[in-house]
Symmetry: C2
Subunit: 229 residues, 2 copies
């Protein structure tokens, strides 16, 4: 497969490295066509790797991974335009992080999400939110964390979610550890996990952790439900 | 111990029942001193159970569990006043749920939390946020869900958190499954888990599930940290 990876930060480079390792062709996109980070990455990654603008990468990719920061994702994608993204799977792995006075904040939050923003702005693109709840080392090496912890997918297009599941499988996430939350509006729920993730990151001192959803298989009849936990 | 349980909904009744079962004296508080729900609960629960206004209950309790809805918690506590709550542990188990057009919303969210609101309004009370991330059946019966899933505590007072841990232990949560997130401001993080909880509740069709934080014990050196997952 030909993948576009948008973003030259540690998340983008980690995902791009893994895609190359898996035998895919990868073009890394950045705002600056002469981005040193993208150039160094492409040189180190070998002949199947290339780099260019966000638009160059998006035109190249059969599927696109948006690994730019959540607050700049829309601007990056708007610089590409609708046409090169039309009909393509776009996996958004971002969180809309805005540090304020050294304190973690999110924007948008709760009444909207980056995943929804992208889907609204690019209605002909199949947007899937995934992987934003784990550190990039865990994204591509889930076995670094013990147990049957999971990742989530949110998106309106079933085929796009199925293709995302296959890629997650290549990364090491078996199908039964990929939880389909529903439509792209459920991106709100996973983006809102970041404050807890960040609090635990500060507590543990490292990012190699994740959440495992555990559930009763046959709940007792009459389980108390009050629309609240 | 003498406990006040504020709130006559399913969460309050479930917690109050469990406290009675554990041998504690419990007074259930409600806005209406003649609340039928509280009266029926007290009658069924036997001689160590009683009921009254929020203020009656708070005066009675050596510790207070606030199990009223997150959006009305402050009003309920203000009807008590500062004095009956001064010097006491108050465990807030609420979520600030506001359904809008059938859709889950939270208020406050992200820049504030119910836990913080209560602590600011009652500076002489030791507020601990806990248990809001699980359904009330799981609060008092963690074994209903398989695995080593956890609950969180957030609060500024270490002794109050230690007392909360002991109560959680009585409910069936061993100490190593109680994660101390830090000060009361971390209540924001756990309150923001509700949208994911609710999405999973709708998917599973029952509320008997929880999250287990899994982590690597010795992260590889050079774990990629970018202040983001």
């Amino acid at each position: 497969m030909r993948y576009a990876v948008l973003g030259t930060g540690v998340v983008g480079r980690t995902l791009a490295d893994e895609l190359v390792k898996l035998g895919h062709e990868v073009r890394m996109g950045s705002r600056d066509p002469d981005s040193p980070a993208a150039g160094e990455w492409a040189e180190a990654a070998g002949p199947v790797a290339s780099h260019g603008t966000f638009a160059d990468a998006a035109e190249f990719g059969e599927a696109v991974i948006s690994a730019v920061g959540g607050q700049v994702a829309l601007a990056a994608l708007r610089s590409v335009g609708e046409e090169p993204l039309a009909g393509k799977l776009l996996i958004d792995v971002s969180n809309p992080i805005a540090f304020e006075d050294g304190r973690l904040r999110l924007s948008p939050v709760e009444s909207d999400s980056v995943g929804e923003q992208i889907q609204r702005a690019f209605p002909r693109t199949q947007v899937v939110k995934s992987l934003n709840t784990v550190n990039c080392t865990v994204m591509v090496s889930p076995a670094k964390v013990p147990g049957g912890h999971q990742v989530f997918v949110s998106g309106d297009d079933e085929r796009a979610k199925e293709r995302t599941r296959r890629l997650l499988g290549e990364f090491g996430w078996p199908a039964d550890r990929v939880i389909d939350l529903g439509g792209i509006e459920t991106a709100r729920a996973v983006e809102m996990m970041l404050p807890l993730w960040f609090t635990l990151f500060q507590k543990f001192g490292h990012p190699e952790f994740n959440f495992e959803v555990r559930k009763a298989h046959r709940p007792a009849s009459g389980g108390q439900v009050d629309r609240t936990p």
